[in-house]
C-alpha cells in the first residue's frame, strides 16, 4: 500500500559512462527483458540500454499486446510456451501488475484448408503440452455470444482453434515494470540515445557510437525492431530481413461484450476488447516494404470491413486512433537469435516480425543466458542466424502470419 500512495520513482536518468560490460541497443521489451535476466540470473549489472526514443516508443508500444503459445512448429511451440509461463508470473515477480488477462484466444477457420491448418497446430500443441483444441460453431457461439455466426456470412465460421491460456496484456506496463526492476539493480536506461555506429576491430565489436558519445562494450546486443537490419549493418552483419508496416486501430470504450481474442486469417483481422473497454483491431502486414508508422485509409477500411463481418452490430462504433509499427520479417517467420557468425561480441535478438511482444520474456531470458555463459541454450538454437546459410528454416509462417 505504501507503494500505492508514495510517488516512488520508476527509474533514474544517468550520464553515459565510458564503458559497460553489455550494451543493449533497443530498450523495448526484448532489450529490457535481456537486461533484467542478465542482472537477476547472471549478476551482470554493468549494463546500458540505449534507445533512440522514449521508453517503449518502438514496437513494444505499437503491438496489439496479444500473448499466446499455440504456434505450429515443434521449435516454436516450446519457446512461446516458455514465454507465456514467464508472463503468467511476471506481475508477482516484478511487483508491478502488467494486467495479463488470460481470457482465451480463438483463431477462426472459414475454409476446409483453414480447418486443416488449425488442426496441425492443435495436434502439435497438444503433443507438446499446450492447451489448445479445435472447437466448432456451437461451442464458439457459447464462448463468444456477441460474435455473428448467423446466416448470410460470406465466409462462414467452420471451426476455431481455442487456446484458453492466450490473452492480452498491458504492453506499456510490461516495459515499465521491467525498466523499474532493471533500474533497481543498477542497470542504466538511456532513452533518446541513438546509435550511429558500431566499431568493429579485429573481427570483434568493441564500442558503440551514440548521439551522446562513444561507449566501450564487452558485448553488444542488437535488440531493435523495425530497424534491426540497419543496426546490424553498422557492425557489418547482413540480415535476411525486410521491413513492413503493420497497422492497427482502437475504438472508443464500450461496456464489456467480448472477453476473448478473436483472430481470422481469412479475414486478415484480429480483435480484442481491453479492460478499459476499447476494441483493439489489427491488420496483416502492409503488402509493401516501408518504415512509415502512419496509418493508411485503405487498411483502416479493410480492418473495419472485416471487423463488421464478425461483429456487424458495431457499425456505429467510432475509431479513435490508427497507427503502424514496423515489422522485421524473416523468410521463415521465425526470429533470429544468436551470436553473429563473423563478428564476435555482437549478438542479435531480432527479426521478430509480428510476434515479438509475446516472446519478450523468453527471448530475454535465453539471450541473457547466451551472453552471460557464451553458450546458446537449446531452446533458441533453431533460431540461429546460421540457418539461412544451411537452409534449415523453421516454417512458422502458417501460424505467425496474421495470427498475432
Amino acid at each position: 500500500m505504501t507503494q500505492l500512495f508514495g510517488n516512488n520513482r520508476m527509474w533514474r536518468s544517468h550520464e553515459l559512462k565510458k564503458s559497460y560490460d553489455v550494451v543493449i541497443i533497443g530498450a523495448g521489451v526484448h532489450g529490457l527483458a535481456t537486461a533484467y535476466y542478465l542482472g537477476k540470473e547472471h549478476g551482470v549489472r554493468r549494463v546500458a540500454l540505449l534507445d533512440k526514443g522514449y521508453l517503449g516508443s518502438g514496437s513494444s508500444g505499437r503491438n496489439t499486446a496479444i500473448i499466446r503459445s499455440n504456434y505450429r512448429t515443434p521449435e516454436g511451440i516450446p519457446f512461446y510456451d516458455a514465454s507465456v509461463k514467464l508472463y503468467e508470473d511476471l506481475s508477482r515477480e516484478l511487483g508491478w501488475n502488467v494486467l495479463f488477462s488470460q481470457c482465451g484466444h480463438l483463431t477462426l477457420a472459414h475454409t476446409d484448408s483453414g480447418v486443416a491448418g488449425l488442426r496441425v497446430r492443435a495436434e502439435n500443441n497438444q503433443l507438446l503440452g499446450v492447451d489448445s483444441r479445435l472447437i466448432y460453431p456451437e461451442e464458439i457461439r457459447r464462448l463468444v455470444p456477441s460474435m455473428y455466426l448467423g446466416a448470410g456470412q460470406r465466409y462462414p465460421i467452420l471451426a476455431a482453434l481455442y487456446h484458453p491460456p492466450g490473452g492480452i496484456i498491458r504492453h506499456d506496463a510490461v516495459v515499465w515494470g521491467y525498466a523499474r526492476a532493471c533500474d533497481r539493480m543498477g542497470i542504466e536506461i538511456h532513452p533518446f540515445t541513438e546509435v550511429t555506429a558500431i566499431r568493429v576491430e579485429n573481427g570483434a565489436a568493441r564500442s558503440v557510437v551514440t548521439t551522446r558519445g562513444e561507449i566501450a562494450a564487452g558485448a553488444v546486443l542488437n535488440a531493435t525492431a523495425g530497424w534491426a537490419s540497419t543496426i546490424s549493418a553498422m557492425a557489418g552483419v547482413p540480415l535476411q530481413i525486410v521491413s513492413h508496416p503493420l497497422q492497427a486501430c482502437v475504438t472508443e470504450p464500450l461496456k464489456p461484450f467480448l472477453d476473448k481474442v478473436i483472430v481470422s486469417a481469412t479475414l486478415h483481422v484480429y480483435v480484442n476488447q481491453t479492460d478499459k473497454g476499447e476494441l483493439v483491431i489489427g491488420a496483416e502486414i502492409d503488402p509493401y516494404q516501408s518504415y512509415s508508422t502512419k496509418g493508411t485509409l485503405p487498411t483502416l477500411e479493410q480492418m473495419a470491413t472485416y471487423t463488421l463481418e464478425l461483429f456487424p452490430q458495431l457499425h456505429g462504433v467510432r475509431v479513435l486512433r490508427q497507427w503502424a509499427g514496423v515489422c522485421d520479417m524473416t523468410p521463415d517467420f521465425a526470429p533470429i537469435i544468436g551470436a553473429a557468425e563473423d563478428v564476435s561480441n555482437f549478438y542479435m535478438d531480432v527479426g521478430w516480425g509480428t510476434y515479438g511482444f509475446k516472446a519478450g520474456p523468453a527471448a530475454g531470458k535465453y539471450t541473457a543466458e547466451m551472453i552471460a555463459t557464451g553458450k546458446t541454450p537449446k531452446i533458441i538454437e533453431p533460431f540461429s542466424p546460421s540457418r539461412f546459410r544451411t537452409a534449415r528454416l523453421v516454417g512458422e509462417k502458417a501460424a505467425a502470419a496474421v495470427s498475432h
Binding site: 507503494q3 500505492l4 510517488n7 516512488n8 521508453l55 517503449g56 515443434p74 503468467e88 506481475s91 508477482r92 508491478w96 501488475n97 502488467v98 494486467l99 475454409t111 480447418v115 486443416a116 488449425l118 488442426r119 495436434e123 497438444q126 503433443l127 507438446l128 456477441s146 460474435m147 455473428y148 448467423g150 460470406r154 465466409y155 506499456d172 475504438t251 470504450p253 464500450l254 461496456k255 464489456p256 479492460d275 473497454g277 502512419k294 496509418g295 493508411t296 485509409l297 477500411e301 473495419a304 470491413t305 471487423t307 463481418e309 456487424p312 452490430q313 458495431l314 457499425h315 456505429g316 462504433v317 467510432r318 475509431v319 479513435l320 490508427q322 521463415d332 537452409a391 534449415r392 516454417g395
Partner: protein
Amino acid sequence: MSRFFFDGEPIEAQPGDTVASALYRAGRRIFTRSFKYHRPRGLLCLSGHCPNCMMNVDGVPNVRACVTPAREGMRVRHQNAWPSLEQDWLSAAQHFDSLMPVGWYYKTLTHPSAWHVAEPWIRKVAGLGDPPPPDAPPREYEHAFLQAEVAVVGGGPSGIAAAFEAASGGAQVILIDDQPEPGGHLRYTRPGEAPASIAQLRGQPNVELLARAYCFGLYEGGLLGVLQADPHPGAHERLVHLRAKRVVVATGAYEVPLLFENNDLPGILLSGGARRLLFLHRIVPGRRCVIVGIGARAEDLASDLRGAGIEIVSLISPDEVLGAVGSTRVEGLRFRGGSVTCDLIVVCGPLLPDAGLLSQAGARLAWSAAHGAFLPADLPPHVTAVGRVTGSGLEPAVPLPPGEVRAGKRHFVCLCSDVTSQDLVDGISEGFEHIETLKRYTTATMGPCQGRMCQLPAIGICARETGRTMGETGTTTARPPSPSVTLGALAGPRHHPVRRTPMHYQHEALGAVWLDMGAWKRPRYYRTAESSEERRCVQGEYQAVRERAGMIDVSTLGKLEVRGRDAGRLLDKVYTNRFSDLRPGRVRYCVICDDAGIMLDDGTISSIADDHYFLTTTTGNLEFVEQWLEWWLAGTGWDVHITNLTGGLAAVNLAGPQARDVLAGLTGLDVSAKAFPYMACRQALVADIPAILLRIGFVGETGWEIHVPAESGEDLWKALLEAGKAFGIRAFGVEAQRLLRLEKQHVIVGVDTDALTSPYEADMAWVVKLEKNDFIGKAALSRAAGDPREQLVGFVMQEDGVPDDGSAVVMDGRPAGRVTSSRFSPREGRAIGLAWVPAGLAGEGAEIRVRVQGRPLLARVTRRPFYDPEGARLRM
C-alpha cells in the same frame, strides 16, 4: 415540432434542435456520468468535441447528442449510469478516489490469483456505452469517390473566402463543412449577420458544398478522408474519398476548459457552448451567471447574455478562480477573496487552432507564447492553412500554461478518463516525464475527445513540473482519424464478391453442395435422388469416374495466354522445367519456385505454336502467377505478351474409361490414343463450340480438359451430360476429385505443400531441370537436391480410422510430421493419404503412427500411387 424518447419519456424538439438542445430545453442538466468516478457531467462545448453528452441513440452507443439532429421517433437512452443519470450508484467511486491514484491498477493486485478475481469486476465498471446484440438491424453506409482541384476544409469565414477566391480563379472547388449551414463561428458569435460571401459562394457553379461533413484524415497523395452524415434518406453516413490537387485547411479553432476545482460540474459551459444554446437553439441556459474570462471576449459575452435576460453576477479573471461549488450542479463559484452563488458558469476558455489535420499531413507544431498555442509550421507543399487555424485572430483568453496550475484531485484535465491535475503531477514525479509516456501512463488524451480538451493543459503541467518550456515538452503524435469515424462508414456497403463459373446454375440444378475456394463457389459434391449424405454421394461420383465417365467444372483454374518471340525463354526462366523445347501440340506439367526453391504454384503449359503458349494455374494463385511472370519480364526487353483469359474461358475435365466415347460423339477430331495421345493438346470444335483440348489426367483416368469460351460453358456442359447419358456419366465435385487424385498421390500445391516445400521434398525432383541455363530458384535447388529433412509420402492406414486433414504424425509421443490429406479409399478399403514425415521414415513400407482422434494408429508408408502406378490408364 417533433418528438423523440429519452429513457422512454417523450421529449418535444423544435426545428433545428439537436438531441442535446431538446433535452436541455426540457430541463435536463446531467447528460452523462464520467468514466472513472461517475461524476455527473452536463453540456460543455456543444460542438461534438467533449465527451459530456455521449448517449445511446437508436441502439448505437457513444453518440454525441449535441451534434445529432433530433428526429421524430428516435429512441435515446443514457449510458454508463445505474439506475439513472440522477442516481448513479457507482458515483460512490469518487469517495474512494484516494484508493485509486494514477496507475493504481499497476501497483495493486500483482498476485496473479488476486488479479484474476478482480479483473472481471474492473472490466464490468469500465467502458461507456453498451453495444447492441449481434443480430441488431444493420444500417446503410456508402462510399463515394470525388476529385477536386481545391478542397477547402472548414466553412467558416476564412474557408468561405478561400473557396470563393479559388473558384473565382476558375478552379473546381469542394468545400467541406461540418455544420448544417456554412458560416462557422459567425453563426453563434454574430448571429443574423451572415456574411455576403455565403450568398456569393452559392452562386458559384464550380463550388460544391458538402454540408454536415468533416475531414478526418489528410493522407498521402492528396487523399482526404471525408465523412458526411445523412447524405440522403437511403444512407446513414457516406465516406468520401476525395482527391485534391490543393488542400486549404480552414478548420478554425476550438475552445478548451480551464482548470479549477470542480471544473467539470454540470452548469459550467464553455463560452461557445453557451452561445450555441442561445443563438442556434434560442435557449437561455441559466438565470444567475458568472463569467470566467477577461478582455473583449468576456465583455462581448456578458453583453450577449444580458441581452437574453441573464443576470451577470460577476466577471472573474481566470487567475482569481479557486473552484466551483455544488455537488450535482453548479451552485456558486469561489475565487480569491470571496465567493458568489450562481446557477451558471460560463468559461471563456483558450481558443486553440484545430491543427490536427495539418499535423497528420506532416506539418510541424511550433509553440507560440504570444498565442498560448501550438501553431502549424512547415506545411507540405500542396497544403495551405487560412484563418484561425494559423493562429491569426486568436488572442489567448489567459496566459498559457496557466500561471499556476494547481495540482488537485477535483481539477479535471481529461474529462474522458477522469484524469486530474494531481494525477499528472504524480505521474511525472514517478518518472513519466516525457509527454508520450505521461499520456500512456495516465491515459490523458487517449479518450473519445482525442485529446482536444486535455492536451494543452497536460503539456502545460508536464512543462511546469519538469522545468521545460512548452516547445521542449512538445505534443503527442497526431494520428488519423480525427475527428473519429464509425466502423460502418469505413467499411461502407457490405459488398463481398462471389465468383460463379459459367456453369454455376447447371450445378445448382444438379443439386450441388457448395464449397468456398477463394472468391469462387465450387460444387463440393452433388446430392442425388437417393441420398444427400456426403459420403454416399462422393462414392457414387468416384465410381462413375473409375468405372464409366465423370465430368467436373474446372473453370476456376487460372488461364493465361503467353505469346511472343521470347515466350518460351520467359517460361524457361520462371518455371523449373524446360518449355522452349516443347513442341506445338504438346502439354507439360509445370512448377514455379521462388528464389529459395520453395514451390509456389503448379499447372500445365501447352504449346499452341512456337510463340504461343497456354498456361493453367491453380485456382487460388492466378493473380500471383500473372504478377510473377510480369515481374520477371519487366526490364528484359523480351517480346512477350501475357493475357489473362480466366474469366473468358470455361473448362470441363472429362475423365473415365468411357470418356473417349463421350467425346467422340461430340467432335470430328480423331480422339484415338494414337492420334491424340496423352499429354497432347489440340484445337477443335466440340459440340460445335471452338475448344482447346488438353489430354491430361489429374484423377488418373483417360481424360480431357476442355476449354471453351465462357459464354458457351453451359452449352458444353449440357452437351457432355447429354452425350454421356448413354454411358452413365456423372458430374463430380471437388471432394470426389480430392479422393481420386489421392489414389494417384498427386500433390495439390498449397494443400499438401507449405511455405517451405521444395520439389525434392514433395517427391517431384523430375520437374526440376538443373541442367537448364538459369531459372528462378536454381541456386537454392542445386544445394537442396540431395538433402531433404522431411519428405511428402503416401500412406495406408493399418488400423480402422480415417485421420482428419492436419492430424499429427507422431514419434515417441512427439510431433514428427503431419497428414496433409486423407480419405477413405473405396478401392483399398482403408484410409489412405499423404503425409510429411522425417526423411528417415520415408522409405517404402516404413511404419508410422498417425493420430486419429488423439490415438496414435499404425500406418505404412508407400511411395507408389495406390491406383494404376504405371499410369497405363492415363495413356489408354
